[in-house]
Every structure is written in C-alpha cells, then in structure tokens.
C-alpha cells in the first residue's frame, strides 16, 4: 500500500466533507462534515509522516485532534444558544449580519 493511495482517499474524503458543508443547512450536520474534513487533513498528515519517515506529521495530527475537540465543544454550545433563540438549527435563518 503506497502512501499515495492514502493521499487520494484523503482528497476524496475532504471533497465529500466540503460538499456536505456547502449543501446542508442543519447546523449539526455541518459540524459533522467539518469533522470529516479535519479527519481528511489528519489522514494526509499521517500518510506524509509515514512516507518521509518522520514523527512530526503525527504530532501535527495530534494538535489538529485537540483543535477539533475545542471546535466541537464551542460549535455545539453555539448550536444550543441558537436553538434557544430560534427553535431551529437552520443556518439560513441566521441572516442578521447579511448585507
């Protein structure tokens, strides 16, 4: 298994995640698609770490994982606050700052 095939998979996964973020309107589904994109990035980091035989890629993946945890916590808190205000999680209704 060449790392290049993992990179191809990572690119496909990132594309699926990006499409999901743009296509869906439910805030929680969008957050889950962002997790998919972060995981695709992590997969590429670890494939490069394997290919270049250096542990640095794995450490970057570790930091990305920590960031993803922080992002999920704050993002879900925002979803709860939003639901309390609007009784829905539709992101298209959040147009207060739209010009």
């Amino acid at each position: 298994m060449e790392p290049q095939w993992v990179l191809v998979l990572s690119a496909v996964l990132f594309t699926i995640g990006a499409f999901g973020v743009l296509w869906n309107r439910g805030a929680i589904t969008i957050l889950m698609c962002v997790e998919i994109m972060l995981n695709a990035g992590n997969l590429a980091f670890i494939a490069f770490a394997r290919q270049f035989d250096s542990a640095e890629g794995q450490i970057y993946a570790f930091f990305v994982m920590t960031l993803a945890a922080a992002e999920a916590a704050v993002g879900l808190a925002i979803v709860i606050a939003l639901f309390r205000l609007r009784e829905s999680t539709d992101v298209d209704e959040l147009n207060l700052m739209k010009w």
């Binding site: 998979l9 699926i16 869906n24 589904t29 997969l43 670890i46 794995q58 920590t66 916590a73 639901f83």
Partner: protein
Amino acid sequence: MGVLETVGFILLTTLTLSSALVVVFHRSPIISALALVFNLVAIAGFYLLLNAQFLALLQVIVYAGAIMVLILFVIMLLSITNESGLHRSGRIQTVMAPLIALGCAAALAFAVFKGSAGPKYVVSSTEFGTVRSIGTDLFTTFFYAFETISLLLVVAMVGAVLLAKRRL
C-alpha cells in the same frame, strides 16, 4: 507490501467513503452521527496501517469517544429527529456546492498526481509512532506548542460554558 495490507486498505476505503456519504446525505442527524462513528473508526484503522498506533488509539478515545458523545448528546438534548426540509439549501447553494466541491477535487487531484513522488516508503525502526517516540518529541521539540494547546482547551471550555448557559 503484503496481501493482508491491500485487503485491509480496500475494506477500510469502502467503509470510510460509504459512511462519509451517509453523513452528508442522510436526513436524520442521529443516523449521520452514527455513520460518523464508523467513519472515524475506519480512519483509526488507516492510522494503524500507517504505523501510527498512538494516534489510532487517540482517534478512538477522543473522536469516537468524547466528540461523538458530545454531538449525540446535543442532538438528543434538542430532540432534532429530522432536519428534512432543511436538507437542501436555496438555489445558489444547489448550483454552487457541486461546482465548488468539483473545483476543490480538481485542485487536490492536481496536487496529488503532479507533485513530486517523494522518497520511497521505508520503515526505519519499530519505534516509529509509539507512545514513547511521540511523547519524547512532544515534550522536547514541541513543548511550547503543547503547553499553548492546553491553554486553548481552557479557553474553549470557558467559552462553551459561557455560550450554553442560560444566564450567568
């Protein structure tokens, strides 16, 4: 390259891609979240194939354990059984989302296939990717980054409480 490795790669690729598609296209957020668990565990399998044992373990504990419990908890707290009708965006998104995703795919395909091949895939030592080697790097070269990320987690925790609490 062993046969077992190739079989594992194909199985994990199928599982990863199909569960990712379920996450994006399923109407019910609960089903999406459960598909995301499958996706994350399959990616942990890839980490094992790529000699990142510690990261595979962290992936299962942090992602499939902590983050997914948080997401499922919020879905059940708000009792969002169906986001149907919310699923499709307006006209602009319906046209632009596939276009932007295709553009993104083209850019990534260009980067993967036209980039230089890089060094040959080698296994230098059995230490690669173990808790010991990662921990040594984390507490020497990346010490300040490691301490800063703990500060970031505290900030995120305070922020989450502040946002989710009804009144302080």
